[in-house]
């Protein structure tokens, strides 16, 4: 199963697949840094695709990538959001919604190797060793500064 075919087989997302990082507006693309753009397998704007169907909370983007060290693709589910203490609950609620939506309405995408990523849209008010970061990790979420570098190799 490729990222593109999994998107096409998800009714909520049909017809939303874009090549490279085309699904991200320019302002958000500046938060991304890709180790090898040739390995990108497309992107979708989840927020835009689900605006009418789903009430808040929603998630921003999904990006497909073929890492150099594993077979198959990794889907990075990326939320670009202010990283302040007050927003922790908001982002964790969005993540819970995304995980439920994946399980119930996007089983093909759910079955793929995935990472949930929070990118700071501005200042960050918690440190790498903070208890908040442990809370994110336990929920399956990785917080990555202002720029998310999609690594050449998957975890």
């Amino acid at each position: 199963m490729t990222f593109k075919s999994a998107v096409e087989e998800t009714p909520d997302l049909k017809g939303t697949w874009c090549s490279g990082l085309q699904a991200l507006p320019k302002t958000d693309r500046q938060h991304m840094d890709v180790a090898d753009t040739g390995r990108l397998s497309g992107s979708i704007n989840v927020e835009a695709a689900l605006t009418k169907k789903c009430p808040d909370p929603r998630w921003d983007y999904a990006i497909g990538y073929r890492p150099g060290n594993v077979s198959g693709e990794v889907v990075y589910w990326v939320e670009i959001h202010p990283a302040t203490s007050g927003e922790v609950k908001v982002v964790l609620a969005k993540l819970a919604w995304l995980q439920r939506w994946l399980r119930e309405l996007a089983p093909r995408l759910h079955a793929m190797r995935k990472e949930f990523i929070w990118v700071s849209s501005g200042k960050t008010s918690f440190t790498l060793s903070s208890p908040q970061q442990k809370r994110f990790a336990q929920a399956g979420l990785q917080h990555k500064g202002r720029v998310f570098r999609i690594p050449d190799k998957a975890v």
Binding site: L128, A139, G145
Partner: protein, 384 residues
């Protein structure tokens, strides 16, 4: 006030502009201690030469012999005549000339608390300078001698060293009792004819070797702080303007580290220019918080709350003063041999050295990522 080092030991290029409080971080053997000892040499050249001479050290005016005596045996190798250079206060320093000619000024203006401070109390009593071998680092011998003078001159007739009413703020004494000493006072005891420091009251006293590792590390530091905070109305000791404190966290629980850090801030508030080296993320957490509390106009109470310190007037004055002081943080990068100013401590920085706080939070970052990946793919799916 800048120190510039090029090709000195593992340092390729270091430029340190000192704040009221300067923090050095970086892996082992990246030159933090060499930089701090070089700073001492720049600040106290005449004093260092005088003390070394008085204790029978003779370097014949030669740089390699001097470095072996000052930095410690075998350390002449940190200097390469072709490449090495030192700059201080914007001026290039001719090291062979500095070492070859005696300086007249013999007063010291820096107090150096070395990482090896536990050696100063071997057998539970401060060792004199002459007790060390010629290959031991000068800063260790000198620190030890200072403690000996302090204990013999200023506590000659007193049996109790801690808690002592006129030493340290009451708030610090209470915090130290809670986090380091428990109910065991630090006392002078006599074992046969030999004086020694013990913890606990007579009859139930614990000698040096029985103390916890943290207590053994902390007592020399405590005595150093006594030296720097005299029991009089003057805020500083003699001509001392600079304080270097290496690895303040050694052997201590995070609660005790918090108290020591607060006492470091007291030194800064007293007007000392303080430089510390550390491997503790907690120290950088405090610097990060201090920066953001200042930037956001927080009250001194917020700083005290972070340290779980009493909100007394005296402590609020301390916090208020500290919040107006400058803090610099430098990262000694092992890969390049260069230093980087990471004072912003921005966890979202695109510079890995700054985001990972000079490596101190890198492991946390990897642990977080590993757990997050496992949780995200925990249902057995998503691994293809």
């Amino acid at each position: 006030m800048k120190l510039k080092l090029q090709h000195v030991g593992p340092i390729t290029d270091a430029e340190l502009a000192f704040g009221d409080l300067t923090v050095l971080v970086g892996p082992q053997a990246t030159g933090k201690s060499i930089a701090l000892q070089m700073l001492k040499l720049m600040v106290d050249t005449g004093y260092v030469q005088d003390i070394m001479t008085r204790h029978g050290l003779d370097w014949s005016g030669k740089l390699p012999e001097f470095f072996d005596a000052y930095f410690g045996e075998g350390m002449h190798g940190i200097w390469n005549d072709e490449q090495s250079s030192v700059g201080w206060k914007g001026q290039p320093i001719d090291m062979p000339k500095v070492v070859g000619r005696r300086k007249k000024n013999k007063r010291d203006s820096m107090f150096f608390v070395p990482a090896q401070r536990v050696l100063a109390l071997r057998d539970g009593w401060p060792r004199p300078f002459s007790d060390y071998s010629p290959g031991d680092p000068f800063v260790v011998c000198e620190f030890s001698e200072r403690l000996r003078v302090l204990v013999e001159r200023e506590f000659g007739s007193s049996e109790k060293l801690f808690p002592q009413e006129r030493r340290l703020k009451k708030e610090f004494r209470e915090m130290l009792e809670r986090s380091v000493f428990g109910k065991f006072p630090l006392q002078v005891d006599k074992f046969r004819a030999q004086k020694r420091l013990v913890l606990g009251a007579a009859g139930e006293s614990l000698p040096f070797m029985v103390w916890s590792a943290g207590q053994r590390e902390f007592v020399p530091l405590l005595l150093g702080l006594y030296w720097l905070m005299p029991p009089t109305k003057v805020s500083r000791r003699g001509d001392i303007q600079w304080v270097v404190l290496e690895e303040l966290e050694m052997g201590l629980h995070p609660r005790a580290i918090a108290v020591v850090l607060l006492m470091v801030l007291e030194l800064v508030a007293r007007g000392y220019r303080v430089c510390i080296s550390t491997h503790s993320p907690q120290v950088l957490e405090a610097m990060w918080a201090l920066r953001h509390l200042k930037e956001n106009g927080a009250s001194p109470r917020a700083l005290l709350t972070m340290f779980e310190a009493p909100q007394t007037q005296s402590m609020q004055r301390l916090a208020q003063t500290v919040m107006n002081k400058s803090v610099k943080v430098y990262y000694f990068d092992a890969a390049t041999g260069r230093t980087r100013d990471i004072s912003d401590l921005d966890p979202a920085s695109e510079e890995a050295g700054e985001a990972g706080w000079g490596g101190l939070t890198e492991f946390s970052g990897r642990a977080n990522a590993a757990v997050a990946h496992a949780v995200a793919n925990a249902d057995g799916k998503g691994q293809s």
